[in-house]
Symmetry: C2
Amino acid sequence: MTRRPEVFVPAITPFAQDGSVDHARFIAHAKGLLTAGAHGMAPFGTTSEANSLSVAERMAALEALVEGGIDPAVLIPGTGCCAAADTVALTAHARGLGCRGVLVLPPFYYKGVPEDGVFAAYAEVIEAVADAGLRLYLYHIPQMSGVPITLSLIERLLKAYPGTIAGLKDSSGSWDNTRAVIEAFPQIDTYSASESLIPKNVAAGGAGCISASANVNPAGIRRLIDGLGIEGEGALLEQVSAVRRIFEGLPLIPAIKAAVARQRGDMAFARVRPPFVETGAAHEAAIAEAVRLAGPQVAP
Amino acid sequence: MTRRPEVFVPAITPFAQDGSVDHARFIAHAKGLLTAGAHGMAPFGTTSEANSLSVAERMAALEALVEGGIDPAVLIPGTGCCAAADTVALTAHARGLGCRGVLVLPPFYYKGVPEDGVFAAYAEVIEAVADAGLRLYLYHIPQMSGVPITLSLIERLLKAYPGTIAGLKDSSGSWDNTRAVIEAFPQIDTYSASESLIPKNVAAGGAGCISASANVNPAGIRRLIDGLGIEGEGALLEQVSAVRRIFEGLPLIPAIKAAVARQRGDMAFARVRPPFVETGAAHEAAIAEAVRLAGPQVAP
């Protein structure tokens, strides 16, 4: 299947001094990402500290984005929680706002659960939301969730809900797994979690990337996508990979937020919720270098 | 420190046919456990499928227990969620009902987080609840949470909140760890997660156990506790260990629920929520044997 590759951003969630979600900065960051070339956003993902937000906080922040002028057609919010009731509420809410789809973690507290149970968890949400227009993206991030989205699970879900299962984000870091998903299920959109894998992902028939570091380098990643197959592709790939490599050596989420803060000249963006702590001075030089390598984030 | 050892039960959560929490069966099971000799309950733990329940479901079910006649002074409900706002709400709610304490998981989605961040997560909850009467039990279950409660974390929390940090449940399965906690912090109540460890736990100065299989064998575990140091202790330990060993070879939570269903002659107790699946016929013989070995659950 030929598809137009995309970069979606798991947008960071800014916090106010009192720890509440900072809607104004959230909207400003979102607009900046889209202006710089991101095709859309997958807010409330891992990088967004979504699991440190309550259901009410997530709903209010998503509404703020849409009311703030972000087209819901470019939003794929994360909605997967441990409790099905929460996942159902967030999914129906996102659909009600007109979001393009939802990115759904499996219930992630219990480990070593049977595939039948994970299938039942997704089925329960899809049946409860009961919306033919729902487009559900599966979220494979076993190093956090402890619950893998296996090939056989995808096959079963696609057979049961062929119009609903729209894609998968593979955050496992295993290209072999991503390739296997793309080859087995060319009808769905499979995203890599690293922009460094975009050329491989797109060549294999994948949909592009949903990457944490796209918070910092959306313009560079968009240039790579637009430049696939042209002479300068190698340099474009090296630019995004150089930025990404820096973050791979740092506490990822606090470092991404610190880099956004530095780019925007507004240290409030660096605030994190527990169990994270701000990077502080320790990684300042590395973060400055990542920002320098990312360069100006201007419209493509 | 000399303390009276206890068995607390992480009570299973029964579900009605439509999947909702079955308050009537929850109360009936709770009363049965206390009548059979349990000192108290730690509902909404791992065995309770608590993380498959929404905040509202947890509050309503806890209220049902208390309104149903269970003394809140024997309840230590689990209240730890990924989002601090949820943990705070559940903790304040449990305090408002007069519960003896709360058993609190660390935020468990993010892995590899710094100890400073885990400390900040507990501190945030304690500060937000702002209740001098709060008794908070730490929940160490790294195989599920991915976030260990280390000795140095306990030390920091005890130093900052000496009147609040009341104990720890060690579900790691490591007796060496439990012993180290008891030796380092004799002022708090440290529970093992297995009744087989009760003699060691109590001899070292621990507080007893909070064990999944206490849903099935509260009377046997109570007899062991009451019989510590007497001539028949070995036989009492062998009885509880024989029951427990069977469950250790089965899918734990569905098997515990199936055994309770068999004991009560009411298969509705066997219902589970995804991502679990009922044990079904596959383990029927083993579960019947566990129930036989547990024997009648009558008042001590």
